[in-house]
């Protein structure tokens, strides 16, 4: 199979990269009607599978699950999840032939095998739904021409998808129709209905394409979302310990700090995050984040280039074929870091203290978000898509670190994200060697304002504020956040 994106002429590449439409709630007035009475069959019953299925059924749709024979006969967890909640469960042969929509919610790595198994069984004119486009775009999976191929991707873990639905809300969701597979022109209506069935239509829906989703998703997850948060966390912890800060305190500051800091990011963008610092600290954070951007720009660009050319997927799939050799080695290495092994100390850290004593992380987040956003937009991805895959998701990932550090983050994210995260981390740590030598405890571990009189130059402060506020990620963010009302505040220990 050839990389789908690379088979396209430039014009069509740009065309598909540029699909990006933040949908108005009036587009969802039909609710689930396009799928009413249709047979929805979900492949896989893990966290996403079960929780999406519960929501769809509670929205009045007909949902059942299909699992591999071994999972059914072995009464595995996926089988128990489905049967104990009174869903019909059957083998591919039993359920796929009657399905109007087959929803593939298995891990990326299994997609090729799963799709090859189910496609011959699917009835003429049915729909195949993905929640990530990797299989189509990077692996170049060819789907039978009579089938419709759509994507609905809730931008949250499965448990949140359910929790938000039963509250009467939903999670932000991305939808797409694959232009090669929309023979009846029904793809968009079905994707919207599916989205409404999971509750996503209440929380902001972005219409994208398979290509734009994959290229921006890969970029975001490897650089700012997982990669830089991992690198920044480890470097910060090591620096504090090196400078004699109590390890328990350092561990807690790093584990929860990124969540507290990015909560401000979620509510009001980079501006709100930077405004939580004192004026002197803000100017300092601005200066070092500018420096960080200069240092890391080539690395961000390399990641984006490799994603666009398919080089990233190629080496990752090589590793898959190689029994995940690199992935497993990097995972083990992450589990062995001092940060991972030092439990958070039993010390109280106030909310403001997380900003004042962790100015370095504020700088990392600003640099990473802006760089990822800029690099994506330069590569032809629309600002709205770039916003989703950079700033918007950062707090969600930060939340997983607060739960159980980097191990938890890497457990929750997809296998492609985990691979890309390690790849970035391996390259970024040495790149920041010289920079980190200059960092002292005023930037990480102690209150930056301590021993300073707080005076700043008016002109300098005005310039810094202007630079922060006028960045494109701030302008697009302000518009999008207004549309995603009632975002729930993430709670901190």
């Amino acid at each position: 199979m050839a990389n789908y994106f690379n088979t396209l002429p430039l014009r069509e590449k740009l065309n598909q990269l540029g699909v990006c439409d933040f949908m108005d709630s009036s587009e969802f007035l039909d609710g689930v009607s396009a799928l009413k009475g249709k047979k929805l069959v979900i492949v896989g019953c893990g966290a996403q599978g079960l929780n999406q299925g519960l929501n769809l059924r509670d929205s009045g749709l007909d949902v059942s699950y299909t699992l591999r024979k071994e999972a059914i006969e072995g009464k595995r967890d996926s089988w128990k999840n489905a049967t104990e909640n009174n869903f019909t469960v059957g083998t591919y042969e039993e359920l796929i032939p009657n399905a109007d929509v087959v929803i593939n919610l298995t891990p990326d790595k299994q997609h090729t095998a799963v799709v090859n198994a189910i496609m011959p069984l699917m009835k003429e004119g049915a729909t195949l739904l993905y929640s990530h486009g990797f299989n189509i775009v990077e692996e170049g999976m060819q789907i039978r021409k009579d089938l419709t191929v759509i994507m609905v991707a809730p931008k949250c873990p499965g448990s949140e998808v359910r929790a938000e639905y039963v509250r009467g809300f939903g999670v932000p969701t991305l939808i797409a129709v694959h232009p090669e597979n929309d023979p009846q022109g029904k793809g968009l209506a079905q994707a919207k209905a599916y989205c409404a069935g999971t509750g996503g239509h209440r929380a902001g829906v972005l219409k994208s394409s398979f290509v734009a989703e994959v290229k921006s998703d890969l970029m975001g997850e490897q650089t700012i979302l997982c990669g830089l948060l991992q690198t920044g966390s480890i470097l910060s912890f090591d620096k504090m310990v090196e400078k004699g800060i109590d390890a328990g305190y350092a561990s807690k500051l790093v584990q929860y700090g990124v969540e507290v800091i990015t909560e401000a990011l979620k509510q009001g963008g980079i501006t709100a995050m930077m405004d939580r610092l004192s004026n002197v600290a803000k100017i300092k954070a601005f200066e070092i984040s500018e420096e960080l951007k200069d240092i890391m720009r080539p690395l961000f660009q390399k990641h984006q280039d490799d994603i666009m050319s398919g080089e990233f997927s190629r080496i990752m799939m090589e590793d898959w074929a190689n029994g995940d050799k690199n992935l497993l080695a990097w995972r083990a290495e992450t589990g062995e870091t001092a940060f991972e092994k030092t439990p958070a100390g039993d010390v109280k850290i106030g909310e403001q203290e997380y900003f004042d004593n962790y100015t370095l992380m504020v700088a990392f987040v600003r640099a990473g978000v802006e760089l990822a956003f800029e690099t994506m937009v330069q590569a032809g991805i629309k600002p709205e898509s770039a916003y989703y895959e950079s700033l918007h998701e950062t707090p969600l990932i930060a939340n997983t670190i607060a739960r159980k550090k980097l191990f938890e983050m890497n457990r929750v994210i997809s296998d492609t994200a985990e691979y890309g995260c390690y790849l970035f981390d391996q390259a970024c740590k040495p790149l920041l060697g010289d920079f980190m030598k200059k960092v002292d405890t005023d930037l990480v571990g102690k209150n930056f304002n301590e021993g300073k009189d707080g005076a700043v130059d008016n002109r300098q402060l005005i310039d810094v504020n202007e630079a922060i506020r006028s960045h494109q990620v701030e302008q697009i963010g302000a518009t999008l956040r207004k549309a995603m009302t009632a975002m729930k505040a993430i709670k901190t220990a």
Partner: protein
């Protein structure tokens, strides 16, 4: 000369910038046990937390522990509500979660929780077993915390306290959610530990109390005052107002059949929670649903409210439609106003009073949209009716528990629903508030509303009740018409 066991002097305390305790002076002698009662919002919980050293205060609180006793020299405060965490240390649960079967275990089991507690406090596990037996809790050892109802969580808290036997034990609302038999057994257990030297401070307005309770007190104007008995004193702020006009409209029924269950069964693995339930509720009927803790009441109600995943495999009709015939849970919920302890427990902590009530129009936990003018006026009217005007922009969670309950009760009736499901609605209310609320229920029901009411206290029921269903161990024991009240 005896030193008092507990000596409080010049105690000053504020709750959300409002002074609740003012220069409070109080002594509790060795061997004494008290009940502190009175209206909700007077500062009982704040006082208890101050004595337990859980919140900052001004003034002095001294406790003269018995150095010779082998009972732990500590004060244990048992909260009226507590928040358990999942295995990852967060508490982001939703109230329907325990009905869903999920293989990935999210919370500890009761057994693991108790083992952990025993280890932390240096207690012997064989001493907890008789307590578990006495409270009818032994069968829950393998249950996960998320699977417990509010009454069962209360029992878990009580088990820990009775096991620890601290020299001063303060229990906030000890009887909340407990059935009559458990309340009786709890009193026996409390008397036993009092005999061993534990001094009790119970915060409640209940009248069936352990015999060791010798004295009563209430907080009045910031002072703790010893009283002869708990008064059902007329509270000065909740005089009866006329109900808003929009609540006088009789409901419009789309079907006369509100609920119909035919041989309904609910199982979790091998555990059967409901067995062959047959039950019909017709439009306008007023039902009392009773049964001991763990008899399946909440599960039964979750079927009616569209919250149970296993509804789809049972023969169940709601508002005339077979469940699973293409309706959404929101289609069902729009006919219903529901309150339950679990619903309160898991309610949106970021919502204000006004938003909480308004969200009742859409059956959402938290408000996610703009209200049209007529609806927002109705919210204002109901806020006024419940005497909540001055709190309307405060966070729900910033109010005392009794007031929070009033807010959620207002939310329950805001859309003048066809069916009211009131599962222990008056938990945390004082006697006067309970009486008023039940009068309101009677008034709403006289306009034709259908009612399913769960209450463990026979004396605290609305008078309109005309039918009764009794569950025991997941089975219907009794279905009857209560003639006296017709």
């Amino acid at each position: 000369m005896f030193k008092p066991f507990l000596h409080i002097q010049d105690l000053n305390l504020s709750y959300h910038n409002k002074a609740v305790l003012k220069d409070l002076y109080w002594e509790m002698n060795i061997g004494e046990s008290y009940v502190i009662g009175g209206q909700s919002g007077t500062g009982k919980t704040s006082l208890a937390k101050a004595i337990a050293g859980l919140i900052p205060y001004q003034g002095s609180i001294e406790i003269d522990f018995d150095q010779l006793s082998k009972l732990p020299k500590e004060v244990l405060y048992v909260e009226s509500w507590y928040q358990f965490k999942n295995l990852e240390g967060v508490a982001n649960f939703y109230y329907q979660q325990r009905y869903t079967s999920q293989q990935a275990k999210e919370t500890l089991t009761v057994h693991a929780e108790l083992v952990g507690y025993g280890k932390e406090k240096g207690l012997h596990f064989d001493q907890v077993e008789p307590i578990l037996e006495a409270l009818g809790f032994a069968t829950f050892a393998s249950s996960q915390l998320i699977e417990l109802s509010s009454g069962e969580h209360k029992k878990l808290q009580l088990v820990k306290a009775l096991w620890l036997k601290p020299q001063l034990l303060i229990i906030d609302q000890p009887y909340t959610g407990l059935d009559a038999a458990s309340r009786k057994n709890l009193n026996i257990l409390l008397d036993q530990i009092a005999e061993e030297g534990v001094q009790l401070l119970l915060i409640c307005n209940d009248t069936e109390l352990p015999t060791c309770i010798g004295s009563f007190a209430e907080i009045r104007n910031g002072q703790l005052v010893k009283v002869g008995a708990l008064e059902s004193s007329a509270s000065n702020e909740t005089h009866l107002r006329e109900i808003p006009d929009f609540l006088k409209e009789p409901p419009v029924y789309s079907s006369q059949n509100i609920v119909k269950m035919v041989n309904v069964n609910i199982n979790y693995g091998k555990k059967q929670v409901l067995k062959n339930i047959n039950w019909e509720v017709k439009a306008g009927e007023k039902w009392l649903l009773q049964g001991p803790n763990g008899s399946g009441k909440s599960t039964l109600l979750s079927l009616v409210n569209g919250d149970h995943p296993q509804s789809y495999a049972n023969e169940l009709y709601l508002f005339g439609n077979r469940r699973g015939s293409g309706e959404s849970i929101w289609d069902i919920k729009q006919h219903i106003g529901l309150i339950s302890p679990e619903f309160h427990w898991y309610f949106d902590p970021t919502a204000t009073v006004w938003q909480s009530i308004a969200s009742g129009f859409y059956d959402t936990v938290g408000l996610f949209r703009q209200l049209p003018y007529t609806k927002s006026t109705q919210v204002d009217e109901l806020v006024e009716y419940f005497g909540l005007t001055e709190n309307k922009n405060e966070l729900l969670t910033a109010l005392p528990l009794g007031k929070q309950r009033l807010v959620l009760l207002a939310r329950t009736i805001i859309k003048n629903p066809e069916l009211l499901i009131l599962d222990e609605p008056c938990q945390g209310l004082d006697q006067q508030q309970t009486k008023h609320f039940n009068q309101l229920v009677d008034e709403l029901c006289s306009n034709g509303m259908t009612l399913i009411y769960v209450g463990h206290f026979e004396s605290q029921l609305p008078t309109c009740i005309e039918k009764r269903i009794l569950l025991e161990k997941g089975e219907v024991k009794v279905v009857e018409t209560i003639l006296e009240n017709v």
